[in-house]
């Protein structure tokens, strides 16, 4: 390609999409600043390492939860604002199980089942952790997934199926109603307080030495990595290797065409809700395991980040959701290098808004479930 050609292409890009150019300039400036900072020692390498690790963990949770949102968004064609509260529901169901198994005989069953509502019992006191109470944690993961699967199917049956053929906005408004009902029902039962769930002192830590300091890695990070990675691989196999997966992809690409070819649309929709709900529940559980606190607002606060990830990755693409999740997670964490940490979430939202403006179809655009 000749220089002139490159130049004219660049100019055309700048004229057609000036916003994209501005964004590239900003990203480039930040990258240069980061590299310069690392080179001069102004920004410690280990700090960046820690932030990247933190962002990766957060991103995996977002990506895991985002898979379900992305699938229902593309198959049913609406943005499900109740997805965040599925996450919360899964987290509470799973942690109630974990508390029950870890604390049976040591505390009141009711208090355990309510995840210590009203300060009746504390996760730290029960010594909960992946190494100290592995059975309780694994059981919690399973219950979180199964319960949320059930919630998702029940909500679909009651709220979404009767108006399946309505427009996307009708469904979206309905999902906002579902979200509030679920969230405050959870608050009614489990109480409004944020409480600690794990025994932070008992979690084995594996600090990694990186040039000028340590990157803090602990057993819960690794648990998150294994659970999220395993489930993502499982979804990949489900979509690529099974007939159901093929049907889901067909539905997502073109619902009408899929129905003509004899795919049982309702069954596929049910399977989609089940998969997405189950993943959301597990994501909620591991989020709580990773950060060590639980609150009825967790899912809602995560939801907008998940939307950001799903839109970034391209609606309908599960790989896009995962990649988008990691990008959003990294943005969230790394943004504190330049702006106050109160704006970390805002930075992630701004990335999403910018993507919507520059490339609304997302990075992994279009028909990309396959």
């Amino acid at each position: 390609m000749s220089l002139a050609e490159t130049y004219s292409r660049g100019r055309r890009l700048a004229v057609e999409n000036p916003f994209a150019v501005v964004v590239s300039v900003v990203v480039a400036a930040l990258a240069v600043d980061l590299i310069a900072g690392l080179a001069t020692g102004r920004i410690p390498v280990s700090r960046v390492g820690s932030l990247v690790w933190d962002g990766l963990m957060r991103g995996l949770v977002i990506g895991l939860a985002g898979i379900g949102l992305s699938m229902t968004y593309s198959i049913l064609n609406f943005a499900n604002f109740a997805h965040g509260d599925y996450i919360t529901g899964g987290a509470f169901a799973g942690w109630a199980t974990t508390y029950l198994i870890a604390g049976l005989g040591r505390a009141d069953v009711g208090a355990l089942l309510l995840v210590g509502a009203g300060g009746s019992v504390f996760g730290g006191a029960l010594g909960i952790g992946i190494t100290t109470t592995p059975v309780a944690v694994v059981a919690g993961v399973v219950v979180a997934g199964v319960t949320t699967l059930a919630i998702a199917l029940l909500v679909d049956r009651l709220a979404f199926r009767p108006i399946r053929d309505s427009g996307g906005i009708t469904l979206l408004i309905t999902s906002i109603g579902v979200a509030f009902a679920l969230r405050y029902l959870i608050q009614f039962v489990f109480g409004p307080s944020t409480r600690g769930t794990t025994d932070a002192a008992a979690v084995p830590k594996f600090p990694l030495y990186l040039i000028d300091g340590y990157v803090r890695v602990d057993a819960h990070d690794l648990a998150l990595l294994v659970i999220a990675g395993g489930l993502m691989l499982g979804v990949h196999l489900l979509l690529q290797r099974t007939k159901l997966g093929k049907a889901m992809r067909a539905m997502s690409d073109n619902r009408d065409l899929a129905r003509i070819t004899g795919i049982p649309a309702e069954r596929v929709v049910t399977a989609t809700w089940a998969t997405g709900g189950g993943l959301a529940g597990v994501a909620g559980y591991v989020l709580v395991l990773w950060k060590g606190t639980i609150s009825f607002n967790d899912g809602w606060l995560l939801l907008l980040l998940i939307f950001a990830a799903v839109i970034l990755g391209g609606i309908g693409s599960i790989y896009g959701a995962i990649a988008g999740g990691v990008i959003i997670g990294l943005t969230y964490s790394l943004s504190v290098l330049w702006i106050p940490s109160a704006f970390a979430r805002a930075a992630a939202f701004i990335v999403m808004i910018v993507i919507l403006l520059v490339r609304p179809q997302g990075l992994f655009a279009g028909r990309a479930t396959s």
């Binding site: 943005a79 009651l158 108006i163 427009g167 009708t170 906002i176 509030f180 009902a181 939307f307 939202f349």
Partner: protein, 508 residues
Amino acid sequence: MSGDDGGRDADVDADVTAGTDDRNGNGNENENAGARDADRAGLLDRLPPALRTDTALIVAALLGIYVLYVASGVALGYSVRGQLNAVAVVTFYVAVFAMLALALNLQWGYTGLFNIGIVGFMAVGIYTMAIVSKQVYAPGSAASVGGLGAPIWVGMLAGTAVAAILGLIVALPALRLRADYLAIVTIAMSEIVRFTLLSNAFESFRLPVPYVSTAGVGTVTYRVGLGGGSGVILDFRDPLAAFVGAVGLTGPYGALVDLFGRVIEANPRPVVDGLVYGVVLLAFVAGYYWLLSRTGKSPFGRVLKAIREDEDVAGALGKDTRAFKVKAFMLGCALMGLGGILWFMRQGAITPNTYRPRLTFFVWIALIIGGAGSNTGSVVGGAIFAALLYQGPLYLKNLVNTVVPVSNAPGSFGPAVAPLIGRLDPVPFLLYTVDSVRQLQLVIMGVVLVVLMHRRPDGLLGYRTEAAASIPLRLGRATPGAEGPEHGDGTDGTGGADPEGPGGGRDG
């Protein structure tokens, strides 16, 4: 569609309390409504025709609410003071929700812009107003940050203007997006506003303001700020008192307070203030209604409705749809900012976490109850929402607490439900339920929203027949006599109403 039954207008209340349940129930209610309608008809006949049904509808809704509240106040054994206070509070909420629903109706009902960031515009409005109108910072005062010390009306104008400018900033890039993307962008914006208000980066800063005086031109630096998590104290003069003073009615107002002093034992002033402020807010509602009805009827409004129905067609007819959308969005945002100001400026202090997305959700329910696309519906929906869903449960709680004085409601779900399971004793659980009414209220609202979307996506009055043709376009609809005169759509050119309601195929 409910738009065809003659008596529907009088009995909005019954329709919702009776449970938004099913259309079969409407038959009975309409008979009652018809009878009551006839009672009022004598008075209504003297009004100009344009006022007849819609004004009657709003007045009926308000009267119904007042009767309900006064009746339950009597049941509660409230004093005169308590009664008047209850009326003032419910008037206040009816008015603010009606205003916000009207503003949203311009964006969603008229133009089809899916804004779920309402609370962000409200917060920007009141915070701007606070900065402009608060007293100048003086060391040692209770307020940790000061303001510019401008008159209150300047602050109100500034807040409204800044909300409109934020609307412009959001609208310019975002309005070309699909409706669901616009939703996500607006709610993200409202959360960014809240994080900004919460952060300590803008807790306090110095703002240089240029001035011109006889001595020359210069700048004077004020210590202002957003106050961070602890919020801002609104230490300006009570806006109501300032307003009364400005229109020169301080004397008569004092006389009014004295008059109320005869029925209220001690300190009648706050009660009178509340009532008068309620009336002022209702005047603002009338202003919003007038402005938006005029807008809807104007050529500008017709283009907005055309955009709502089919943007491509409106564009093909040579309309610059983007410019229309931006203007409508900005006007709506300005009105939301003003709504936020009117809601919060008499509260003494404001904190960022008041401005959570649930306020947006409230306004949406109000609009959907009333029906998107109808100004009358917005007002009635706001009134019903405020009276029944927003204030109603708290009132019910008081009612229960009067009948069964409670001092020992369980503090959490566990102690509440244990006796129920253990020895089938439902009392603690019921006490806890009544005590948690603030949370359950949101559950109820969520369920109401879902049921509305299932059963009545058009709301009570949404998308009333808007036929441009002189003959019925669809059998059984658009019969000339049944047409509400509201926003004068009987004559404008947007064609038949969208039978699918607010959601119908508009997300492309």
